[in-house]
Protein backbone atom coordinates (compact mmCIF):
# COMPACT_ATOMS: atom_id res chain seq x y z
CA UNK A 1 0.00 0.00 0.00
CA UNK A 2 3.06 2.21 0.02
CA UNK A 3 2.53 3.43 -3.56
CA UNK A 4 -1.13 4.28 -2.78
CA UNK A 5 0.05 6.40 0.09
CA UNK A 6 2.69 8.10 -2.07
CA UNK A 7 0.14 8.96 -4.78
CA UNK A 8 -2.38 10.12 -2.18
CA UNK A 9 0.12 12.47 -0.54
CA UNK A 10 1.28 13.84 -3.88
CA UNK A 11 -2.28 14.52 -5.00
CA UNK A 12 -3.32 16.16 -1.77
CA UNK A 13 -0.23 18.34 -1.82
CA UNK A 14 -0.93 19.37 -5.40
CA UNK A 15 -4.44 20.54 -4.36
CA UNK A 16 -2.94 22.85 -1.79
CA UNK A 17 0.01 24.06 -3.85
CA UNK A 18 -2.27 25.15 -6.66
CA UNK A 19 -5.24 27.37 -5.75
CA UNK A 20 -7.69 24.51 -6.39
CA UNK A 21 -8.04 23.61 -2.72
CA UNK A 22 -8.60 27.13 -1.44
CA UNK A 23 -10.99 28.12 -4.21
CA UNK A 24 -12.97 24.94 -3.62
CA UNK A 25 -13.09 25.32 0.15
CA UNK A 26 -14.12 28.97 0.04
CA UNK A 27 -16.83 28.45 -2.56
CA UNK A 28 -18.11 25.31 -0.90
CA UNK A 29 -18.34 26.85 2.55
CA UNK A 30 -19.84 30.14 1.36
CA UNK A 31 -22.40 28.48 -0.89
CA UNK A 32 -23.31 25.87 1.71
CA UNK A 33 -23.98 28.67 4.18
CA UNK A 34 -25.89 30.95 1.84
CA UNK A 35 -28.02 28.21 0.34
CA UNK A 36 -28.88 26.77 3.70
CA UNK A 37 -30.03 30.08 5.18
CA UNK A 38 -31.66 31.67 2.15
CA UNK A 39 -32.79 28.92 -0.21
CA UNK A 40 -33.25 26.27 2.46
CA UNK A 41 -35.46 28.25 4.86
CA UNK A 42 -33.21 27.30 7.73
CA UNK A 43 -34.97 29.60 10.21
CA UNK A 44 -38.49 29.63 8.83
CA UNK A 45 -38.85 25.87 9.18
CA UNK A 46 -38.55 26.30 12.92
CA UNK A 47 -36.85 22.94 13.31
CA UNK A 48 -33.46 22.33 14.90
CA UNK A 49 -31.94 20.05 12.27
CA UNK A 50 -29.63 20.29 9.28
CA UNK A 51 -31.98 18.95 6.60
CA UNK A 52 -31.90 22.17 4.50
CA UNK A 53 -28.09 22.12 4.72
CA UNK A 54 -27.72 18.54 3.54
CA UNK A 55 -30.35 18.88 0.81
CA UNK A 56 -28.13 21.47 -0.88
CA UNK A 57 -25.15 19.13 -1.05
CA UNK A 58 -26.04 17.16 -4.19
CA UNK A 59 -26.27 20.42 -6.14
CA UNK A 60 -23.05 21.79 -4.70
CA UNK A 61 -21.20 18.58 -5.53
CA UNK A 62 -22.64 18.64 -9.02
CA UNK A 63 -20.56 21.72 -9.81
CA UNK A 64 -17.63 21.40 -7.45
CA UNK A 65 -16.71 17.72 -7.58
CA UNK A 66 -16.17 17.62 -11.37
CA UNK A 67 -13.91 20.65 -10.91
CA UNK A 68 -11.78 18.62 -8.52
CA UNK A 69 -11.74 15.41 -10.53
CA UNK A 70 -11.44 16.72 -14.07
CA UNK A 71 -7.68 17.11 -13.83
CA UNK A 72 -7.10 13.78 -12.15
CA UNK A 73 -6.02 11.82 -15.24
CA UNK A 74 -6.61 14.28 -18.08
CA UNK A 75 -3.85 16.56 -16.83
CA UNK A 76 -1.40 13.68 -16.47
CA UNK A 77 -2.19 12.42 -19.96
CA UNK A 78 -1.74 15.85 -21.44
CA UNK A 79 1.42 16.78 -19.53
CA UNK A 80 3.15 13.46 -20.17
CA UNK A 81 3.44 12.65 -16.47
CA UNK A 82 1.13 9.68 -17.04
CA UNK A 83 4.07 7.93 -18.67
CA UNK A 84 6.22 8.70 -15.66
CA UNK A 85 3.60 7.54 -13.18
CA UNK A 86 2.73 4.32 -14.97
CA UNK A 87 6.34 3.28 -15.43
CA UNK A 88 6.92 3.52 -11.69
CA UNK A 89 6.38 0.26 -9.83
CA UNK A 90 2.70 0.50 -9.00
CA UNK A 91 -0.46 -1.06 -10.41
CA UNK A 92 -3.20 0.93 -12.11
CA UNK A 93 -5.46 0.09 -9.18
CA UNK A 94 -3.02 1.58 -6.70
CA UNK A 95 -2.68 4.76 -8.76
CA UNK A 96 -6.46 5.09 -9.10
CA UNK A 97 -7.08 4.38 -5.44
CA UNK A 98 -4.46 6.91 -4.35
CA UNK A 99 -5.99 9.64 -6.46
CA UNK A 100 -9.54 8.77 -5.43
CA UNK A 101 -8.72 8.70 -1.72
CA UNK A 102 -6.93 12.04 -1.97
CA UNK A 103 -10.02 13.69 -3.45
CA UNK A 104 -12.34 11.94 -1.02
CA UNK A 105 -10.31 12.97 2.00
CA UNK A 106 -10.24 16.50 0.65
CA UNK A 107 -14.04 16.64 0.44
CA UNK A 108 -14.09 15.13 3.91
CA UNK A 109 -12.03 18.09 5.07
CA UNK A 110 -14.48 20.48 3.41
CA UNK A 111 -17.34 18.79 5.27
CA UNK A 112 -15.50 18.99 8.59
CA UNK A 113 -15.00 22.71 8.01
CA UNK A 114 -18.77 23.22 7.92
CA UNK A 115 -18.79 22.63 11.68
CA UNK A 116 -19.93 26.22 12.50
CA UNK A 117 -23.33 25.39 11.09
CA UNK A 118 -23.51 22.36 13.37
CA UNK A 119 -22.56 24.55 16.33
CA UNK A 120 -25.20 27.06 15.26
CA UNK A 121 -28.00 24.54 15.19
CA UNK A 122 -26.93 23.16 18.57
CA UNK A 123 -26.92 26.68 19.96
CA UNK A 124 -30.37 27.45 18.60
CA UNK A 125 -32.02 24.24 19.67
CA UNK A 126 -31.36 20.64 20.57
CA UNK A 127 -31.13 18.66 17.34
CA UNK A 128 -30.64 14.91 17.08
CA UNK A 129 -26.89 14.82 16.58
CA UNK A 130 -27.08 11.17 15.48
CA UNK A 131 -29.18 12.20 12.51
CA UNK A 132 -26.74 15.01 11.73
CA UNK A 133 -23.84 12.57 11.85
CA UNK A 134 -25.72 10.26 9.49
CA UNK A 135 -26.29 13.27 7.22
CA UNK A 136 -22.59 13.96 7.11
CA UNK A 137 -21.88 10.29 6.38
CA UNK A 138 -24.44 10.22 3.56
CA UNK A 139 -23.08 13.42 2.11
CA UNK A 140 -19.53 12.09 2.21
CA UNK A 141 -20.58 8.82 0.57
CA UNK A 142 -22.38 10.71 -2.15
CA UNK A 143 -19.31 12.88 -2.72
CA UNK A 144 -17.26 9.68 -3.00
CA UNK A 145 -19.59 8.40 -5.71
CA UNK A 146 -19.30 11.65 -7.63
CA UNK A 147 -15.53 11.52 -7.31
CA UNK A 148 -15.41 7.93 -8.57
CA UNK A 149 -17.50 8.98 -11.58
CA UNK A 150 -15.19 11.93 -12.19
CA UNK A 151 -12.07 9.79 -11.81
CA UNK A 152 -13.37 7.35 -14.39
CA UNK A 153 -14.39 9.99 -16.91
CA UNK A 154 -11.16 11.93 -16.45
CA UNK A 155 -9.31 8.79 -17.53
CA UNK A 156 -11.36 8.84 -20.72
CA UNK A 157 -9.95 12.04 -22.15
CA UNK A 158 -6.99 14.39 -22.28
CA UNK A 159 -9.29 17.41 -22.13
CA UNK A 160 -10.21 18.66 -18.68
CA UNK A 161 -13.21 20.53 -20.06
CA UNK A 162 -14.62 17.35 -21.58
CA UNK A 163 -14.01 15.51 -18.33
CA UNK A 164 -15.84 18.22 -16.39
CA UNK A 165 -18.88 18.25 -18.66
CA UNK A 166 -19.21 14.47 -18.87
CA UNK A 167 -18.90 14.11 -15.11
CA UNK A 168 -21.47 16.82 -14.40
CA UNK A 169 -23.80 15.23 -16.93
CA UNK A 170 -23.62 11.75 -15.45
CA UNK A 171 -24.01 13.15 -11.94
CA UNK A 172 -27.07 15.21 -12.80
CA UNK A 173 -28.64 12.17 -14.42
CA UNK A 174 -28.03 10.12 -11.29
CA UNK A 175 -29.55 12.86 -9.14
CA UNK A 176 -32.59 13.41 -11.29
CA UNK A 177 -33.42 9.87 -12.27
CA UNK A 178 -35.45 9.19 -9.13
CA UNK A 179 -37.34 12.49 -9.05
CA UNK A 180 -41.13 12.10 -9.32
CA UNK A 181 -41.29 14.44 -12.32
CA UNK A 182 -38.86 12.27 -14.27
CA UNK A 183 -40.53 9.05 -13.26
CA UNK A 184 -43.99 10.42 -14.14
CA UNK A 185 -42.71 11.41 -17.54
CA UNK A 186 -41.79 7.81 -18.32
CA UNK A 187 -44.65 6.13 -16.48
CA UNK A 188 -46.82 6.03 -19.61
CA UNK A 189 -44.24 4.47 -21.88
CA UNK A 190 -42.10 2.21 -19.73
CA UNK A 191 -43.20 -0.84 -17.73
CA UNK A 192 -43.74 -0.19 -14.07
CA UNK A 193 -41.09 -2.62 -12.87
CA UNK A 194 -38.43 -0.97 -15.01
CA UNK A 195 -39.37 2.43 -13.63
CA UNK A 196 -39.09 1.08 -10.10
CA UNK A 197 -35.67 -0.35 -10.91
CA UNK A 198 -34.53 2.95 -12.39
CA UNK A 199 -35.83 4.81 -9.38
CA UNK A 200 -33.55 2.70 -7.20
CA UNK A 201 -30.56 3.99 -9.13
CA UNK A 202 -31.30 7.48 -7.92
CA UNK A 203 -28.53 8.90 -5.83
CA UNK A 204 -30.85 11.40 -4.22
CA UNK A 205 -33.18 8.72 -2.91
CA UNK A 206 -30.37 6.80 -1.16
CA UNK A 207 -28.79 9.97 0.12
CA UNK A 208 -32.03 11.26 1.58
CA UNK A 209 -32.63 7.92 3.27
CA UNK A 210 -29.26 8.09 5.02
CA UNK A 211 -29.60 11.80 5.79
CA UNK A 212 -32.89 11.12 7.59
CA UNK A 213 -30.81 9.03 9.96
CA UNK A 214 -31.85 5.63 8.67
CA UNK A 215 -28.70 3.61 8.10
CA UNK A 216 -29.92 0.85 5.81
CA UNK A 217 -27.27 -1.55 4.58
CA UNK A 218 -28.76 -1.31 1.07
CA UNK A 219 -28.16 2.43 0.90
CA UNK A 220 -24.59 2.00 2.10
CA UNK A 221 -24.00 -0.79 -0.41
CA UNK A 222 -25.44 1.37 -3.19
CA UNK A 223 -22.75 3.99 -2.63
CA UNK A 224 -19.88 1.61 -1.94
CA UNK A 225 -20.59 -0.63 -4.93
CA UNK A 226 -21.10 2.43 -7.11
CA UNK A 227 -17.71 3.78 -6.15
CA UNK A 228 -15.98 0.44 -6.75
CA UNK A 229 -17.75 0.05 -10.08
CA UNK A 230 -16.79 3.47 -11.40
CA UNK A 231 -13.21 3.14 -10.20
CA UNK A 232 -12.97 -0.27 -11.83
CA UNK A 233 -14.29 1.18 -15.07
CA UNK A 234 -11.67 3.92 -14.82
CA UNK A 235 -8.88 1.38 -14.34
CA UNK A 236 -10.13 -0.58 -17.34
CA UNK A 237 -10.21 2.61 -19.41
CA UNK A 238 -6.62 3.41 -18.47
CA UNK A 239 -5.57 -0.12 -19.32
CA UNK A 240 -7.38 0.07 -22.63
CA UNK A 241 -5.52 3.27 -23.46
CA UNK A 242 -2.22 1.40 -23.17
CA UNK A 243 -3.22 -0.98 -25.93
CA UNK A 244 -4.88 1.49 -28.27
Amino acid sequence: MNPVNAVLRRELRSYFVTPVAYVFLVIFLVLAGILTFYAGDFYERGQADLQPFFMMHPWLYLILVPAITMRMWAEEAKGGTLELLLTLPLTLWQAMLGKFLAAWLFIGLALVLTFPIWITVNYLGSPDNGVILAGYLGSWLMAGSFIAIGACLSALTRSQVVAFILTALVCVLLILVGQPQVLDFFSGTLPRRLINAVAHLSMLRHFEAIARGVLDIRDLLYFLLGMIGWLLAGVLLLDLKRTR
Partner: protein, 317 residues
Protein backbone atom coordinates in the same frame (compact mmCIF):
# COMPACT_ATOMS: atom_id res chain seq x y z
CA UNK B 1 19.60 -6.94 -19.47
CA UNK B 2 16.98 -5.86 -21.97
CA UNK B 3 15.61 -8.33 -24.49
CA UNK B 4 12.89 -7.76 -27.02
CA UNK B 5 11.54 -10.50 -29.21
CA UNK B 6 9.62 -9.58 -32.35
CA UNK B 7 8.30 -6.53 -30.53
CA UNK B 8 5.56 -4.95 -32.64
CA UNK B 9 3.24 -2.04 -32.14
CA UNK B 10 0.55 -0.83 -34.52
CA UNK B 11 -1.51 2.36 -34.41
CA UNK B 12 -4.39 1.58 -36.70
CA UNK B 13 -2.80 0.91 -40.06
CA UNK B 14 0.54 2.37 -39.09
CA UNK B 15 3.16 -0.03 -37.81
CA UNK B 16 5.26 2.10 -35.49
CA UNK B 17 7.54 -0.70 -34.37
CA UNK B 18 7.92 -3.70 -36.63
CA UNK B 19 9.18 -7.01 -35.22
CA UNK B 20 12.07 -5.47 -33.32
CA UNK B 21 14.39 -7.98 -31.70
CA UNK B 22 17.31 -6.62 -29.74
CA UNK B 23 19.30 -7.77 -26.74
CA UNK B 24 21.33 -5.42 -24.59
CA UNK B 25 23.79 -6.96 -22.14
CA UNK B 26 25.20 -5.51 -18.93
CA UNK B 27 28.16 -3.26 -19.69
CA UNK B 28 26.70 -2.20 -23.00
CA UNK B 29 25.53 1.28 -23.83
CA UNK B 30 23.28 0.82 -26.80
CA UNK B 31 22.29 3.84 -28.82
CA UNK B 32 18.93 3.53 -30.50
CA UNK B 33 19.31 5.74 -33.50
CA UNK B 34 16.74 6.76 -36.05
CA UNK B 35 15.03 9.69 -37.70
CA UNK B 36 12.10 11.36 -35.93
CA UNK B 37 9.09 9.08 -36.02
CA UNK B 38 11.19 5.96 -36.51
CA UNK B 39 9.60 4.23 -33.52
CA UNK B 40 12.34 4.79 -30.94
CA UNK B 41 10.05 6.20 -28.28
CA UNK B 42 7.30 3.70 -28.99
CA UNK B 43 9.76 0.83 -28.56
CA UNK B 44 11.01 2.30 -25.29
CA UNK B 45 7.47 2.85 -24.01
CA UNK B 46 6.72 -0.81 -24.57
CA UNK B 47 9.90 -1.90 -22.79
CA UNK B 48 9.02 0.43 -19.91
CA UNK B 49 5.54 -1.12 -19.68
CA UNK B 50 3.66 2.07 -20.54
CA UNK B 51 2.34 0.75 -23.86
CA UNK B 52 1.18 -2.79 -24.47
CA UNK B 53 2.82 -4.44 -27.51
CA UNK B 54 0.51 -5.44 -30.34
CA UNK B 55 2.60 -8.61 -30.49
CA UNK B 56 5.96 -9.83 -29.34
CA UNK B 57 7.53 -9.56 -25.90
CA UNK B 58 9.96 -7.41 -23.99
CA UNK B 59 11.92 -8.50 -20.92
CA UNK B 60 13.84 -6.43 -18.40
CA UNK B 61 16.30 -8.47 -16.33
CA UNK B 62 14.41 -11.59 -17.39
CA UNK B 63 11.01 -10.26 -16.28
CA UNK B 64 8.39 -10.13 -18.99
CA UNK B 65 6.97 -6.60 -18.91
CA UNK B 66 3.44 -7.86 -19.53
CA UNK B 67 3.45 -10.78 -17.11
CA UNK B 68 5.60 -9.41 -14.29
CA UNK B 69 5.25 -5.68 -14.79
CA UNK B 70 6.14 -4.67 -11.24
CA UNK B 71 9.35 -6.71 -11.16
CA UNK B 72 10.35 -5.35 -14.55
CA UNK B 73 9.60 -1.78 -13.47
CA UNK B 74 11.61 -2.17 -10.28
CA UNK B 75 14.67 -3.21 -12.27
CA UNK B 76 14.32 -0.31 -14.67
CA UNK B 77 15.16 3.35 -14.44
CA UNK B 78 13.36 5.22 -17.20
CA UNK B 79 13.55 8.77 -18.45
CA UNK B 80 10.56 9.36 -20.75
CA UNK B 81 10.85 11.62 -23.77
CA UNK B 82 10.89 15.26 -22.71
CA UNK B 83 11.58 14.33 -19.07
CA UNK B 84 8.02 14.92 -17.80
CA UNK B 85 7.64 15.77 -14.13
CA UNK B 86 5.06 17.40 -11.90
CA UNK B 87 5.58 21.10 -12.52
CA UNK B 88 3.85 22.37 -9.40
CA UNK B 89 6.16 20.39 -7.10
CA UNK B 90 9.55 21.53 -5.92
CA UNK B 91 12.55 19.44 -6.89
CA UNK B 92 12.78 18.15 -3.32
CA UNK B 93 9.10 17.16 -3.16
CA UNK B 94 9.28 15.47 -6.53
CA UNK B 95 12.33 13.39 -5.70
CA UNK B 96 10.89 12.48 -2.30
CA UNK B 97 7.73 11.33 -4.07
CA UNK B 98 9.91 9.06 -6.22
CA UNK B 99 11.72 7.80 -3.10
CA UNK B 100 8.35 6.79 -1.61
CA UNK B 101 7.16 5.25 -4.87
CA UNK B 102 10.32 3.17 -5.04
CA UNK B 103 9.52 1.78 -1.60
CA UNK B 104 12.66 2.86 0.23
CA UNK B 105 12.93 2.72 4.01
CA UNK B 106 13.20 6.34 5.26
CA UNK B 107 16.92 6.48 6.02
CA UNK B 108 18.02 4.42 3.00
CA UNK B 109 15.78 6.59 0.85
CA UNK B 110 17.30 9.73 2.28
CA UNK B 111 20.82 8.50 1.53
CA UNK B 112 19.89 7.77 -2.09
CA UNK B 113 18.17 11.15 -2.34
CA UNK B 114 21.33 12.89 -1.10
CA UNK B 115 23.48 10.86 -3.45
CA UNK B 116 21.58 11.67 -6.65
CA UNK B 117 21.14 15.31 -5.68
CA UNK B 118 24.90 15.53 -5.38
CA UNK B 119 25.53 13.48 -8.52
CA UNK B 120 23.34 15.75 -10.64
CA UNK B 121 24.27 18.94 -8.82
CA UNK B 122 20.74 19.81 -7.82
CA UNK B 123 21.57 21.17 -4.34
CA UNK B 124 20.85 24.76 -5.24
CA UNK B 125 17.47 24.19 -6.88
CA UNK B 126 15.97 21.75 -4.36
CA UNK B 127 13.48 24.33 -3.12
CA UNK B 128 12.42 25.61 -6.54
CA UNK B 129 9.27 24.69 -8.41
CA UNK B 130 10.01 22.41 -11.36
CA UNK B 131 7.91 24.71 -13.56
CA UNK B 132 10.39 27.52 -13.03
CA UNK B 133 13.48 25.49 -13.97
CA UNK B 134 15.38 25.74 -17.24
CA UNK B 135 15.15 22.92 -19.73
CA UNK B 136 18.58 21.62 -18.77
CA UNK B 137 17.75 21.53 -15.08
CA UNK B 138 14.46 19.80 -15.73
CA UNK B 139 16.29 17.16 -17.70
CA UNK B 140 18.66 16.67 -14.78
CA UNK B 141 15.73 16.28 -12.40
CA UNK B 142 14.34 13.64 -14.78
CA UNK B 143 17.66 11.84 -14.76
CA UNK B 144 17.79 11.98 -10.99
CA UNK B 145 14.35 10.38 -10.92
CA UNK B 146 15.52 7.61 -13.28
CA UNK B 147 18.67 6.65 -11.37
CA UNK B 148 17.31 7.19 -7.88
CA UNK B 149 16.85 3.50 -7.07
CA UNK B 150 20.22 2.62 -8.61
CA UNK B 151 18.65 0.34 -11.22
CA UNK B 152 20.56 -2.39 -13.07
CA UNK B 153 18.87 -1.32 -16.31
CA UNK B 154 18.64 2.27 -17.45
CA UNK B 155 16.61 3.50 -20.38
CA UNK B 156 16.87 7.14 -21.41
CA UNK B 157 14.80 8.67 -24.19
CA UNK B 158 16.84 11.51 -25.69
CA UNK B 159 18.68 12.32 -22.46
CA UNK B 160 20.62 15.31 -23.79
CA UNK B 161 17.95 16.83 -26.01
CA UNK B 162 17.85 20.58 -25.49
CA UNK B 163 20.92 20.80 -23.30
CA UNK B 164 23.82 23.17 -23.91
CA UNK B 165 27.26 21.67 -24.67
CA UNK B 166 28.41 21.83 -21.07
CA UNK B 167 25.29 20.16 -19.78
CA UNK B 168 25.55 17.51 -22.49
CA UNK B 169 29.08 16.83 -21.39
CA UNK B 170 28.01 16.48 -17.76
CA UNK B 171 25.17 14.10 -18.63
CA UNK B 172 27.47 12.01 -20.80
CA UNK B 173 30.01 11.77 -18.02
CA UNK B 174 27.29 10.61 -15.69
CA UNK B 175 26.15 7.94 -18.13
CA UNK B 176 29.77 6.89 -18.63
CA UNK B 177 30.20 6.40 -14.90
CA UNK B 178 26.93 4.47 -14.68
CA UNK B 179 27.74 2.34 -17.69
CA UNK B 180 29.95 -0.15 -15.89
CA UNK B 181 27.98 -3.28 -15.01
CA UNK B 182 24.71 -1.68 -16.05
CA UNK B 183 22.58 -2.17 -19.12
CA UNK B 184 21.91 1.16 -20.75
CA UNK B 185 19.64 1.91 -23.66
CA UNK B 186 19.51 5.47 -24.91
CA UNK B 187 17.67 6.86 -27.87
CA UNK B 188 18.95 9.81 -29.77
CA UNK B 189 19.08 11.43 -33.12
CA UNK B 190 22.35 13.16 -32.35
CA UNK B 191 25.19 11.37 -34.07
CA UNK B 192 27.88 12.97 -31.92
CA UNK B 193 26.20 11.32 -28.97
CA UNK B 194 26.84 7.91 -30.43
CA UNK B 195 30.56 8.65 -30.52
CA UNK B 196 30.60 10.07 -27.06
CA UNK B 197 28.54 7.39 -25.32
CA UNK B 198 27.69 4.19 -27.08
CA UNK B 199 29.61 1.02 -27.64
CA UNK B 200 26.84 -0.33 -29.82
CA UNK B 201 24.40 1.27 -32.24
CA UNK B 202 21.06 0.06 -33.51
CA UNK B 203 19.55 2.05 -36.35
CA UNK B 204 15.82 1.86 -36.92
CA UNK B 205 13.58 3.59 -39.42
CA UNK B 206 9.86 3.12 -39.97
CA UNK B 207 9.91 0.70 -37.05
CA UNK B 208 12.35 -1.73 -38.62
CA UNK B 209 15.82 -2.62 -37.43
CA UNK B 210 18.22 -1.67 -40.22
CA UNK B 211 21.64 -1.95 -38.66
CA UNK B 212 23.23 -3.29 -35.48
CA UNK B 213 26.92 -2.54 -35.13
CA UNK B 214 29.60 -0.70 -33.19
CA UNK B 215 30.10 2.98 -34.03
CA UNK B 216 33.46 2.10 -35.63
CA UNK B 217 31.87 -0.53 -37.83
CA UNK B 218 29.28 1.95 -38.98
CA UNK B 219 31.94 4.52 -39.77
CA UNK B 220 33.78 1.90 -41.82
CA UNK B 221 30.73 1.77 -44.06
CA UNK B 222 31.12 5.40 -44.96
CA UNK B 223 32.81 6.19 -48.24
CA UNK B 224 34.87 8.67 -46.26
CA UNK B 225 36.39 5.84 -44.22
CA UNK B 226 40.15 5.92 -44.82
CA UNK B 227 39.96 9.00 -47.01
CA UNK B 228 42.59 11.69 -46.59
CA UNK B 229 41.73 15.37 -46.67
CA UNK B 230 43.95 18.42 -46.58
CA UNK B 231 44.00 22.10 -47.42
CA UNK B 232 46.75 23.36 -49.64
CA UNK B 233 46.53 26.56 -51.63
CA UNK B 234 47.57 26.30 -55.26
CA UNK B 235 47.61 22.55 -55.46
CA UNK B 236 46.19 22.25 -58.95
CA UNK B 237 49.18 20.30 -60.21
CA UNK B 238 49.32 17.90 -57.32
CA UNK B 239 45.72 16.89 -57.86
CA UNK B 240 46.66 15.28 -61.13
CA UNK B 241 49.66 13.59 -59.54
CA UNK B 242 47.46 12.30 -56.70
CA UNK B 243 45.05 10.87 -59.21
CA UNK B 244 47.85 8.82 -60.68
CA UNK B 245 48.65 7.10 -57.37
CA UNK B 246 47.64 3.43 -57.74
CA UNK B 247 45.81 3.38 -54.36
CA UNK B 248 43.59 6.37 -55.10
CA UNK B 249 40.07 5.95 -56.39
CA UNK B 250 38.93 9.56 -56.75
CA UNK B 251 39.51 13.11 -55.65
CA UNK B 252 37.01 15.72 -54.63
CA UNK B 253 37.52 19.41 -54.05
CA UNK B 254 35.20 21.28 -51.76
CA UNK B 255 33.93 24.19 -53.84
CA UNK B 256 33.64 26.42 -50.77
CA UNK B 257 36.97 26.23 -49.01
CA UNK B 258 39.05 24.34 -51.59
CA UNK B 259 39.71 21.45 -49.24
CA UNK B 260 40.83 18.38 -51.11
CA UNK B 261 39.61 14.92 -50.18
CA UNK B 262 41.32 11.87 -51.62
CA UNK B 263 39.34 8.62 -51.59
CA UNK B 264 41.15 5.27 -51.47
CA UNK B 265 40.39 2.18 -53.50
CA UNK B 266 38.80 -0.59 -51.40
CA UNK B 267 41.13 -1.90 -48.73
CA UNK B 268 43.96 0.52 -49.51
CA UNK B 269 45.71 2.84 -47.06
CA UNK B 270 46.58 6.13 -48.64
CA UNK B 271 47.73 8.46 -45.88
CA UNK B 272 51.40 7.64 -46.35
CA UNK B 273 51.57 7.74 -50.15
CA UNK B 274 49.63 11.00 -50.21
CA UNK B 275 51.91 12.57 -47.62
CA UNK B 276 55.02 11.41 -49.47
CA UNK B 277 53.75 12.82 -52.72
CA UNK B 278 52.86 16.16 -51.21
CA UNK B 279 56.30 16.40 -49.64
CA UNK B 280 57.98 15.57 -52.94
CA UNK B 281 55.96 18.28 -54.62
CA UNK B 282 57.12 20.72 -51.96
CA UNK B 283 53.57 21.80 -51.16
CA UNK B 284 52.73 23.72 -48.04
CA UNK B 285 50.02 21.68 -46.36
CA UNK B 286 48.58 23.42 -43.38
CA UNK B 287 46.93 20.34 -41.95
CA UNK B 288 46.21 16.82 -43.15
CA UNK B 289 43.57 14.49 -41.78
CA UNK B 290 42.75 10.81 -42.03
CA UNK B 291 38.96 10.48 -42.04
CA UNK B 292 37.33 7.87 -39.81
CA UNK B 293 34.15 7.92 -41.81
CA UNK B 294 31.10 10.06 -41.46
CA UNK B 295 28.26 8.73 -39.39
CA UNK B 296 25.78 11.25 -40.69
CA UNK B 297 26.33 9.99 -44.19
CA UNK B 298 25.99 6.35 -43.13
CA UNK B 299 22.88 7.26 -41.17
CA UNK B 300 21.31 8.88 -44.21
CA UNK B 301 22.25 5.96 -46.39
CA UNK B 302 20.75 3.43 -44.06
CA UNK B 303 17.59 5.25 -43.08
CA UNK B 304 16.59 6.63 -46.45
CA UNK B 305 18.21 4.07 -48.68
CA UNK B 306 19.86 6.91 -50.60
CA UNK B 307 22.91 9.02 -49.86
CA UNK B 308 26.17 8.99 -51.72
CA UNK B 309 27.29 5.85 -53.39
CA UNK B 310 30.73 4.63 -52.58
CA UNK B 311 32.06 1.67 -50.78
CA UNK B 312 28.67 0.72 -49.45
CA UNK B 313 28.32 -2.67 -47.94
CA UNK B 314 24.92 -4.20 -47.77
CA UNK B 315 23.19 -3.12 -44.59
CA UNK B 316 22.95 -6.30 -42.61
CA UNK B 317 20.33 -6.86 -40.00
Amino acid sequence: MIETDQLTRCYGNLTAVDALSIRVEPGQVLGLLGPNGAGKSTAMRMIAGFLVPTSGTARVCGHDVSREPLKAKRALGYLPEGAPSYGEMTVREFLQFIVRMRGFKPDAGYRRFEAVVQQLQLEEVLGLCIDTLSKGLRRRVGLAQAILHDPPVLMLDEPTDGLDPNQKHAVRQLIDVMARERTILISTHLLEEVHALCNRVVIIARGKLLADATPAELEARSRYHGAVSFSAPGSGMSQEMLGRLPQVASIEVDPLDGRITVFPKPGERILEPVETLLREQGLEVSEIQLERGRLDEVFRQITTGTGSVGRVEEGHA
